[in-house]
């Protein structure tokens, strides 16, 4: 098989995230390319057995480059009725469904709102089904270990994992090593988990099963050589910010207030204190933004992070950073919906907020990461632009990227160019708002420096001295300068490249952020089928790359898939007067590749003879 998609689904307490994480690790070690999608309930401890308490972890892996977590499932492991109910619709016809019959009792069926037992009616008719009493078999397997019944049942996720390992011919050793570390202080629990894992694997090997389901072989993928690790977007972002600050020769002061799904960045950075990372959990998002600004004013790299609702609170402080022209990075891990919305679900609907969402004319730089590993590079770029241009930079990521993991070629830090920051030292002729003629950035003069005492603030200031000024011409000049400084950055960022397909194609899909994977996979497939289609993906949202308008004008049709109600489409129409069409999806989930393929088919026709090899 070229690739396979597996989802482990069960009750929040069933350890599905751990199971998925272990399967991911083993799969990466087997040389597959992969992408994952953890999907947890919003409730911290939803009542057991309910549909809203279902937690799932999906992984797509293959012998080819993997770009998404997969549309439809080849294998679903459902450890209770609620998990089956919520996830069954995503299984391919004739896909394999593994259920723990031990959990299909009346009580659990009722909680999942099943009128009759789906294992006994024709609910599962379109699929291949393995009905196994995993709960009982796990208890039998760990009987001799001497753990309580509750603890015995808790290791049933390892039993299921053992079976799936058998199914894909995976090694158990990495998981056993991991269990040994995790349960070092609890030898019985360790033994129970290993016994369950082995029992699940043995069940696959020895039972009659082999007549019903064959083992599936997914070979290693051709991926660039080097040292790899699995990485989530939050980790890559944390490390990228650290790397960026090192390249700028600045200490990082990271100020944040907890919010899903942004908190993981705070946690990752708080764990890196040894690298001289100062983290501060503020009393609210406003204080976090203001403290980051204060830190930048005092000469460190101030960074703040939140999700949409928290970024809304930071807005006034962003205006202050724009007005005083201080470097600042604001990370927005986007989540779904206005207000509280759906905190654990993904969306990319804060583009308007990032580009337009402030009072007055207040431009700043907006960047977007496209995948977990890409967060690293975008973070380095954010530090570079913030410090070189003395400007706030909004870095957009989302709940999907933050939590999803992928194999990552660990970068060589020495190969990344440094951009050490020069702070003003010379008092001779110092004017707080005099500018570098190339970048239009003002000098960074930091308290503590002799002879450079000056006053800055949010009130409009003279374009040279920085003293308060209500002069009409000065305000016009300052507004123009603030805009020109940000627009000029277009000349200091890479020209836009076409990711796949040709200039002038019949249709281009233009995306930004985490839609990269599905768009890229869909375009690869459509090119192979002979559709004249292309893919352009934006990292720099504001300013836009200098050549983007010219590129877009070559295409006959422009389609913009976005996980929002059509925001980039507004921006591009406004900027380039192009007839771009929106393909909006806001269901809290990433695009399905098949939906994007269908969208292409609905708009252009195949050109036989043009098939491109994958």
């Amino acid at each position: 098989m070229e690739s396979a998609t597996v989802r482990f689904a069960g009750d929040s307490g069933d350890g599905m995230q751990i199971t998925g994480g272990q399967f991911t690790l083993t799969t990466a070690l087997a040389g597959n390319d992969l992408a994952t999608f953890p999907d947890f309930p919003a409730e911290i401890r939803a009542p057991a057995g309910t549909t809203y308490g279902v937690s799932a972890f999906q992984i797509n892996f293959g012998a080819r480059r993997i770009k998404t977590a997969g549309d439809h499932l080849d294998v679903l492991v459902a450890t209770n009725p609620a998990a089956l109910k919520v996830n069954l619709a995503d299984v391919k016809s004739a896909g394999l469904v593994i259920v723990d019959t031990g959990q299909f009792n009346d009580k659990n069926l009722r909680k999942a709102h099943y009128d009759s037992n789906p294992l006994e009616d024709d609910t599962l008719a379109p699929y291949r089904v393995l009905k196994i009493d995993i709960t009982q078999l796990t208890q039998d397997a760990v009987e001799t270990v001497g753990v309580t019944k509750k603890e015995a049942v808790r290791s049933k996720n390892m039993w299921a994992l053992g079976l799936v390992y058998w199914l894909f011919g995976r090694e158990r050793a990495p998981t056993i090593a991991w269990l040994k570390r995790k349960f070092a202080s609890k030898p019985e629990v360790l033994e129970a988990n290993i016994a369950a894992l082995n029992a699940g694997h043995a069940f696959g090997e020895t039972s009659e099963l082999q007549h019903e389901v064959a083992q599936i072989d997914v070979g290693p993928a051709a991926i660039p050589p080097g040292l790899y690790r699995a990485i989530t977007g939050a980790e890559a972002l944390a490390w990228g910010l650290v790397a960026g600050c090192e390249k700028a020769a600045l200490r990082m002061v990271f100020c944040s207030y907890p919010i899903t799904p942004a908190s993981s960045l705070l946690h990752s950075l708080a764990a890196l204190k040894s690298l001289n990372i100062l983290t501060f959990q503020a009393e609210d998002e406003i204080a976090a933004a203001c403290a980051a600004i204060g830190a930048s004013y005092a000469g460190d790299m101030g960074i703040t992070s939140s999700s949409g609702p928290g970024v809304a609170l930071k807005t006034e402080a962003l205006g202050l950073a724009i007005a005083t022209e201080l470097p600042l990075i604001v990370v927005n891990s986007q989540r779904a919906g206005p207000s509280t919305g759906m905190p654990t679900k993904t969306e990319q609907s804060d583009l308007y907020q990032a580009v337009y969402g402030r009072n007055a004319d207040s431009p700043l730089v907006v960047l977007a990461a496209r995948a977990p590993g890409d967060c690293f590079d975008v973070a380095v770029e954010a530090v570079r632009l913030a410090t070189k241009y003395m400007t706030p930079v909004m870095l957009l990521t989302d709940g999907y990227i933050a939590n999803a993991s992928e194999p990552w070629l660990i970068p060589d830090l020495d190969a990344i160019a440094s951009f050490p920051v020069k702070r003003r030292q010379d008092p001779e002729g110092y004017q707080p708002f005099a500018r570098n003629p190339q970048t239009l950035a003002r000098d960074w003069a930091v308290p503590g420096t002799p002879g450079l005492m000056h006053r800055i603030g949010g009130i409009e200031r003279d374009s040279t001295s920085g003293n308060i000024s209500y002069d009409p011409d000065n305000h016009q000049r300052m507004t123009d300068l603030r805009a020109a400084k940000i627009e000029g950055i277009a000349n200091d960022i890479p020209l836009q490249e076409v990711d796949q397909g040709d200039l002038g194609a019949d249709l281009v899909l233009v995306g930004w952020g985490s839609t990269y994977g599905p768009i890229s996979r869909a375009v690869t497939t459509m090119l192979a089928e002979g559709y004249n289609v292309a893919h352009v993906h934006l990292r720099h949202i504001w300013p836009l790359p200098a050549n983007l308008g010219d590129i877009l004008n070559t295409y006959k049709k422009i389609l913009i898939p976005e996980m929002n109600h059509g925001q980039l489409v507004t921006l591009l129409r406004d900027r380039y007067l192009v007839d771009a069409e929106s393909l909006a999806q806001v269901n809290g989930k990433p695009f399905r590749v098949s939906d994007l393929e269908a969208a292409v088919r609905a708009r252009i026709s195949r050109k036989p003879g043009l098939e491109k090899k994958l």
Partner: protein, 342 residues
């Protein structure tokens, strides 16, 4: 005299900028500015290592008039911005200037957390019991019944006491002064400056335009001595024109009461001595209001403990001592990795 780093002694006027001061003529802010400039000169403060951070309001224009580093931020957020400044560089001497609306209304949350965390900031609260800059609406410290453009029938809010707020949220330093008291104010500011940790100084400030005379009942020449008690650590709490009145604890009501020395055998020994490390006493003092009790002025509470910025850097230094030799490169390679062969 020479200051730290051998800087030649500066005069108060050397701490003034070339900017024209734009407060209304007669505004109490002028007097406070003068007292701060005097304080800086007395402290031989190095302008390069001194930062004034303010919010928004009349009071918050302050940094433009002080020839140090200055940051005029946004309404209510000065404590939060100052937090970042102090965390980034604990060597800096950071002063925060706020109005009562700035500090206690829109910025109440930040002030609360700044005080309880105990950042080493010198915080000056210019309390004129009114919103000056926005033209005279009532503020959270305005007295009930005050008629303003937004309360034409009189304010029905209960006012907030800056002192009780500060002590309630765990501040380790609270002092109170009056704008016109040019001898006493610099002394209070110097105490605030010496205190390691957050120090809040409330300054009763007259807004001559929108709330003129609001403190007249305390500050008018004929009543001042009877309505003010200047507290001094270790000294008896005595006041009055003839220094013949004292404060005593009434043990049955757990409240302070005024006694006349000489009445029915009452002597100085019956009067409470000020103990600035006693939070309960400070709270009783901060709550005193005329006409039954005098207003307490001076350092009501000062009980230092380690400051937040110190603790942050102690942790950071300890962590840096454990830094992996290979830095970030090593961190990225730790844990599960695998090699893909060419």
């Amino acid at each position: 005299m020479s200051g730290p780093d051998g800087i030649a002694a500066l005069q108060p006027k050397d701490y003034a900028t070339d900017q024209e001061v734009r407060w209304c003529p007669g505004c109490g802010d002028y007097a406070i500015l003068k007292a701060v400039q005097r304080t800086l000169a007395d402290l031989a403060a190095d302008p390069a290592k001194t930062v004034f951070v303010s919010g928004i309001g009349c009071a918050a224009r302050f940094p433009y008039y002080i020839a140090t580093y200055g940051f005029h931020t946004i309404h209510g957020r000065a404590p939060a911005v100052a937090t970042g400044v102090k965390l980034a560089n604990p060597e800096l001497d950071v002063w925060v200037v706020m109005g009562d609306g700035d500090a206690l209304s829109i910025g109440g949350n930040h002030l609360m957390h700044c005080l309880r965390r105990n950042l080493d900031l010198n915080m000056l609260l210019f309390n004129n019991e009114i919103y000056g800059l926005t033209k005279g609406q009532y503020s959270p410290t305005s007295r009930a019944g005050l008629r303003t453009p937004s309360t034409p029938m009189g304010s029905i809010d209960q006012p907030l006491s800056a002192g009780l707020f500060a002590l309630g949220v765990g501040a380790r330093f609270f002092a109170r002064g009056v704008d016109t008291q040019q001898k006493r104010l610099p002394e209070i500011f110097k105490r605030a400056h010496t205190h390691r940790g957050a120090s809040l100084v409330e300054i009763l400030q007259n807004c001559i335009v929108y709330n003129d005379g609001v403190f007249a009942g305390i500050t008018e020449r004929d009543v001042a001595e009877d309505r003010q008690v200047h507290v001094q650590h270790g000294e008896p709490l005595i006041f009055g024109k003839d220094q013949d009145r004292g404060l005593r604890l009434n043990p049955s009501t757990l409240s302070l009461e005024v006694v006349n020395l000489g009445d029915a055998g009452i002597t100085e020994a019956d009067v409470l001595r000020h103990d600035e490390k006693n939070r309960v006493l400070a709270t009783l003092l901060a709550a005193m209001e005329p006409p039954t009790l005098p207003v307490a002025l001076g350092v009501l509470y000062c009980d230092p403990t380690s400051s937040y910025d110190q603790s942050v850097h102690t942790q950071l230094d300890a962590a840096k001592g454990q830094a992996p030799a290979g830095g970030l490169q090593e961190v990225m390679r730790a844990g599960h990795t695998w090699t893909v062969e060419a």
